[in-house]
C-alpha cells in the first residue's frame, strides 16, 4: 500500500491548498456528505414521530398480560375492551409488538425486534471486518465477509417483511389501526418502510461490491476503498436502526 505523505504535513496550514484538508479521498468525503443529509431526512421523520407521540397521552401501565403468558386469537379485541388500546392515547409498544415466528399464541414483548437489532449489528460487524481484510488486500477474506454481510441484510429484510405482515393482518393500515391513534400505524409504515428501503439498497450495493471483489476489480485497482465507502453506508443504516428502535419500541 502507498505510504501516506499527508500525515507528515500536519503542522503546516492545511487550508493553504495543494493537499486535502480532510485527508480522505473525494469519494469518501462525498459519502460522508450524503450520509449527513440522509441523517437529516431520518431525523425529520423521527422528530415528527416524537412530536406526534407526545401530543397524545401515554397509556396506563399494562398489569394484565404477563410476558410468556398465553394470548388468544382475539388479543387485540380484548385489549380494546380493557382500554389499553384506544384512539385516545398512544398504545404500549410491548402489547403491539409481541409476536415471534413459530411461537404463535405466546406473549413475547419486544423479543422479535431485539433479535432484528442484533442481526443488523452483527452484519455491521462482518462489514467492518471485510473493510479490515481489504486493508490487507486479502481478497478471499473480503469475499467471505461480504457474503455474511449480505446474508445479515437479507435476514433483516425478511424479519421486517414478517413483522409488517403481522401488523397488517391485525388490521393496521395507513388510515387506521386497532391499536391507537391513526398516526401510530401510518408513522410505523413510513419510517420503518423508509429504513427498510435503505437496507434493501444497501444489500443491492453489497451484492455489486461482492461481484466486483470476485472479479478482482479492486485487486487490479490496488485498493479496496469501494468496500469502505459502501461500508460507511451500511453502518449508517445500522445507526439509523438504533434510533428507529429507540423511538418506536422504547419511547
Amino acid at each position: 500500500m502507498a505510504n501516506s505523505t499527508t500525515l507528515t504535513t500536519g503542522k503546516q496550514n492545511i487550508w493553504g491548498g495543494g493537499k486535502s484538508p480532510f485527508s480522505v479521498s473525494y469519494g469518501k468525503l462525498m459519502m460522508w456528505i450524503f450520509l449527513l443529509s440522509d441523517a437529516f431526512t431520518f431525523s425529520s421523520l423521527l422528530t415528527a414521530y416524537g412530536f406526534i407521540r407526545y401530543s397524545f397521552p401515554s397509556s396506563q401501565p399494562n398489569e394484565i398480560v404477563k410476558p410468556m403468558s398465553h394470548v388468544s386469537d382475539q388479543f387485540v379485541e380484548e385489549m380494546q375492551h380493557t382500554g389499553l388500546f384506544s384512539t385516545e392515547h398512544w398504545p404500549l409498544p410491548e402489547l403491539v409488538f409481541n409476536h415471534f415466528p413459530f411461537l404463535h399464541g405466546i406473549h413475547l414483548p419486544l423479543f422479535f425486534v431485539s433479535l432484528m437489532t442484533f442481526v443488523l449489528i452483527f452484519s455491521s460487524v462482518t462489514m467492518v471486518l471485510a473493510v479490515e481484510a481489504g486493508h490487507r488486500m486479502a481478497k478471499k477474506e473480503v469475499a467471505n465477509y461480504m457474503v455474511l454481510t449480505i446474508l445479515g441484510g437479507a435476514a433483516f429484510l425478511g424479519c421486517q417483511a414478517w413483522e409488517w405482515t403481522q401488523f397488517i393482518t391485525e388490521g393496521a393500515t395507513l388510515h387506521g389501526n386497532p391499536f391507537g391513534p391513526t398516526a401510530f400505524a401510518a408513522l410505523f409504515f413510513i419510517v420503518t418502510g423508509f429504513h427498510g428501503f435503505h437496507v434493501f439498497s444497501g444489500v443491492v450495493l453489497n451484492v455489486i461490491i461482492y461481484i466486483n471483489v470476485l472479479a478482482g476489480t479492486y485487486e487490479k485497482r490496488g485498493h479496496y476503498e469501494m468496500v469502505e465507502k459502501v461500508g460507511l453506508y451500511w453502518h449508517f443504516v445500522d445507526l439509523v436502526w438504533v434510533f428507529v428502535f429507540t423511538f418506536f419500541y422504547l419511547i
Binding site: 502507498a2 501516506s4 499527508t6 500525515l7 492545511i14 486535502s20 484538508p21 480532510f22 485527508s23 480522505v24 479521498s25 468525503l29 460522508w32 450520509l35 449527513l36 437529516f40 431525523s43 422528530t47 416524537g50 412530536f51 407521540r53 407526545y54 401530543s55 397524545f56 397521552p57 401515554s58 401501565p61 399494562n62 410491548e94 419486544l110 431485539s114 437489532t117 442484533f118 449489528i121 452483527f122 455491521s124 460487524v125 467492518v128 471486518l129 473493510v131 479490515e132 486493508h135 487490479k220 485497482r221 490496488g222 485498493h223 476503498e225 461500508g231 460507511l232 453502518h235 449508517f236 445500522d238 445507526l239 438504533v242 434510533f243 428502535f245 429507540t246 419500541y249 422504547l250 419511547i251
Partner: protein, 107 residues
C-alpha cells in the same frame, strides 16, 4: 491499465480486529440494557425516561461512528464537520418532544 493510484487516507491501527469485536460486545450489552430498562421503567411516565433512552442511543451511535465508520482515526476537521450539525438535530428532537407534550394539553 492504471497502476496503483495514490489515495489520501488516515492510518488504521494494527489491533483493529480486536477493537471491532470489543465494540460489538459493547453494542450488544447496551441493547440489552435498553430492553431491561424499558421493562423496569414501564410504569414511569416522565420526559427524563425518554432522554435516558435517547442518551443510550447516542452512546451506541458514538461507538458505531467512531470504530465501525472509522471516525476515531480521521482528521479533526472531518469529525467536526459531521458531528456539529448533528448536535443541532439532537437539540431539535428534545425540543419537539417537549413541544408535543404541550400540544397534547390543548388538543
Amino acid at each position: 491499465m492504471e497502476h496503483s493510484e495514490h489515495l489520501e487516507h488516515t492510518e488504521t491501527p494494527s489491533n483493529m480486529k480486536q477493537q471491532i469485536w470489543k465494540t460489538f460486545w459493547i453494542l450488544f450489552a447496551l441493547t440489552i440494557v435498553d430492553i431491561g430498562l424499558y421493562f423496569m421503567l414501564l410504569s414511569t411516565h416522565s420526559m427524563l425516561k425518554n432522554f435516558l433512552f435517547i442518551a443510550l442511543g447516542i452512546v451506541k451511535a458514538f461507538y458505531i461512528v467512531a470504530v465501525f465508520m472509522h471516525m476515531k482515526f480521521e482528521r479533526k476537521w472531518l469529525v467536526n464537520f459531521i458531528v456539529y450539525p448533528m448536535l443541532f438535530v439532537v437539540f431539535l428532537v428534545i425540543l419537539m418532544l417537549i413541544e408535543g407534550d404541550f400540544t397534547g394539553l390543548v388538543r
